[in-house]
Amino acid sequence: MIFERLAAALRAETPVALVTRIDGAQSGAKLLVFEDEVLGDLGTPGLNVAAAGEARALLAVGETAMRTFGEDGEPVGVEVRLFIAAYAPKPAMYVFGAIDFSRAMARIGKYLGYHVTVIDARPIFATKQRIPDADDVVVAWPDEFLSQAPVDYRTALIVLTHDVKFDIPLLQVALRTDAGYIGAMGSRRTHANRIDALRSAGVSEADLGRVSAPIGLDIGARTPEETAISIAAEIVALRERRRGGRLSDGTLPVHNDRSVVSTS
């Protein structure tokens, strides 16, 4: 049953992780983890919950790894070794606009495990020499590119063009996708103008709320590198439904319970 479900998921390119206990008396026990479903049993309910959470975290970044837990899934335990094979393509990050910020964004996007594509309509700027860390650099109109590009809930769309003539058509296309993150660079005033234009174009209030703008977490970033870190941190925080801010100021557990929080 587990094998059949795994095979079907692999064929359909549905993200799935296979967790296997690799030592001890219950060696060989399996858990098959989908985004919204779990099959199998590793031995204890706590271990199943912990393993499913870890498997979804690995799926989010497309990594396969060994992990150790306590017998009931305690994160600090070492009694149980699990092998987690995550079958997911790398998530896509599309960075629109080939500017200095894009170079830093491409670099940190790669570091986070994304397949990074930088898109700009200007051939002089959209070159691999200028953005060496990008997997792909594409000369295209941003909205035309995005309307053809594969997008899923793991996709991050980073709009750095901050030019109304590109931003508005691009954001309209972006808001028709399932992208997990849509961020747009620009001042508060720039974004207020964008909101007006999008609203006039018929975009709903709920959709307007999906746009992270001004982009990034509030860390006072100035340089392209600092800005890229602030955007990267916002991407992670939104995925984990966190507000950002200092852990030392908060009371929530440091890590979400992955059994109840999806990775989308």
Partner: protein
Amino acid sequence: MIDVLDTVERWRREGQRVAVATVVGVEKSAPRDPGAMLAVNERGDVAGSVSGGCVESAVYEEGQDAIATGRPRLVTYGISDADAISVGLTCGGTIHVFVERLDW
């Protein structure tokens, strides 16, 4: 898994019992990453690889034993391991391979 999927499904349709060996850990340089898989059936057919040829024959024997006994096992091949000298992991790294009968 993806590279052996078609073959394993065919073997199962033919009623063959199957064992799979998966690289679950590597230390230093190793030719295949974690997740690389070799599959064997009771007839003696093999698909896939775990090391690029260095330890496949030893893993094959473990797979046949797993088919016969149903007992999963974690085996390590590497420079510091006495087995490594006989099986010869030419690449110089260490790999941990989990071998199990595919009865799930």
